[in-house]
């Protein structure tokens, strides 16, 4: 589904990403973790081409991001993204935030988009907040809207960039529950997070990045119990 081969990125001298190699299969949930500034968000943002890289290749769904003929805009319809700080459009209501992309990008009727959006909002317990603007919603509610905005496009992959880092503990649980059920429904998920409970429950692969390099990767047992590198052991000691 996603193949990342020898990807390197640098802004100046220090490399932000060094020879990253990752393969993500369909229906998998992959967690990327690592200390701040390690390049994990950058890697995630390379997958939908919002961030550029200088070397290597990323292939999503058989389409190479390197190919100048690739229509990145079209590709992104299949890749939803959820941001740490929600990134909602502050001048639109929750419903408008969710509906604008399918209406404008997929040419859905307003009626169809709003119907689908309402189904989602009801599911996540926000039916009564459909007409609220982002600034009137709590962090957890905003992130629910942001997830709805990504999911209404019916993407094959959803990228989560630290979706719970800006939330309070109670809201975190609500968002993680949504993500877990999404993962269990078979969505391909790539998630940058420090929520190891989430990783334990649904991650097929955990990637540990430090200073732009993949230090270690493996399934839950392999990563948490049979941790190989000292660097990863140190990191786990800090966050667990």
């Amino acid at each position: 589904m996603i193949t990342i081969t020898d990807v390197c990125k640098w802004y100046g001298k220090p490399e932000v990403l060094k020879n990253i190699n990752v393969t993500i299969e369909r229906n998998q949930t992959v967690v990327i973790c690592g200390p701040s500034g390690s390049g994990k968000s950058t890697l995630l943002r390379c997958i939908n081409g919002i961030e550029k890289y200088q070397k290597g290749e990323i292939i999503v769904n058989g389409i190479s991001l390197n190919d100048p003929k690739t229509d990145l805009y079209k590709l992104r319809r299949n890749i939803g993204m959820v941001f740490q700080h929600f990134a909602l459009y502050p001048h639109m209501t929750a419903l408008q935030n969710i509906c604008i992309a399918p209406i404008k990008v997929l040419n859905w009727s307003k009626h169809k988009a709003e119907k689908e959006a309402m189904v989602f909002l009801e599911q996540v317990g926000m039916g009564s907040n459909a007409q609220a603007h982002p600034a009137e919603l709590s962090g957890g509610q905003q992130q629910r809207v942001a997830i709805g905005r990504a999911l209404i496009m019916k993407p094959q992959i959803v990228l989560f960039d630290e979706p719970t880092s800006a939330l309070d503990p109670e809201a975190i649980k609500g968002i993680l529950d949504i993500m877990i059920s999404l993962a269990k429904s078979g969505m391909t998920i790539v998630c940058v997070t420090h929520e190891m409970g989430f990783a334990k429950e649904v991650a097929d692969n955990i990637i540990f990045i430090d200073k732009g390099e993949i230090i270690e990767q493996g399934a839950y047992e392999e990563f948490f119990i049979n941790t190989k590198t000292d660097r990863a052991k140190d990191f786990l000691k800090q966050i667990l």
Partner: protein, 237 residues
């Protein structure tokens, strides 16, 4: 022998002055409104400058910098006196015979000048929108055009409404400069009445009151618009 000044406020409402005033006010309103329609192209110019590179960046940049850095009076003279000179004689004669040429020039010059100012407000508005909002729009599959058209520009316009109000006020006040090329708008009228009746104080007070009432009306209306489009939950707007 005393030289006491005898007030004569009737120059504000008696004939023929009231007809002159009405004509002046009509021209002020027309020049302001039509120039404003041209000036709104600044929204597009500012967006293009912010969003492009190469020629599509250079052209709106050059436009903005030329038009906002030359005094409006000089621009007006440019369009009115110098511009027709670049044409061959036959066309120039035709231009000189256009009825109300000075009126059209006033509208165009004022519109183009204000467009450059609106372009800069637009650029500031766009710059104040967080990068992640752009990225979020792109991540949903929108093209850059769709992102600007449906998400970013509407947001920026809400942000810059207060400065657009200032520009809208300014366009009516700047229309007074059109008297220098002989457009009989409000300021011209007060000047004309002053020189016919020697009641400059009353005539100028009249012009002042007209501009003040017009501006206050606009302020009031834009206040209503602002509260209509205010983003709920946002503080201090």
């Amino acid at each position: 022998m005393t030289f006491a000044y005898h007030y004569n406020w009737s120059v504000l409402w008696s004939q023929p002055y009231i007809t002159w005033w009405m004509h002046g006010i009509r021209l002020t309103l027309e020049i302001g409104f039509f120039a404003w329609i041209i000036a709104l192209s600044g929204i597009f110019i500012g967006t293009l400058r912010s969003s492009s590179s190469g020629w599509l960046h250079f052209l709106p940049t050059a436009y903005t910098e030329i038009f906002r850095n030359v005094p409006f009076l000089v621009q007006l003279f440019m369009w009115y006196f110098a511009f027709p000179m670049i044409f061959p004689d036959t066309i120039r004669i035709y231009i000189n015979h256009i009825i109300g040429f000075n009126y059209y020039i006033a509208i165009i010059a004022l519109g183009l000048y204000t467009a450059s100012r609106i372009a800069e407000h637009m650029r500031a508005g766009l710059a104040s929108i967080e990068t992640m909002e752009y990225e979020a729009a792109l991540s949903t599959g929108m093209t850059r055009y769709q992102m600007y058209r449906h998400v970013i520009i509407p947001h920026a316009l809400i942000i810059i409404i207060p400065t657009l109000t200032t520009e809208f006020l300014t366009i009516f006040k700047n229309s007074s400069v059109a008297m220098t090329i002989g457009v009989a708008e409000t300021t011209f009228t007060s000047y004309r009445i002053a020189s016919t009746t020697f009641h400059g104080l009353e005539a100028t007070t009249g012009a002042m009151t007209i501009y003040l009432l017009l501006s206050l009306t606009i302020v009031k209306i834009s206040g209503i618009i602002e509260s209509k489009v205010r983003i709920p939950g946002m503080a201090g707007r």
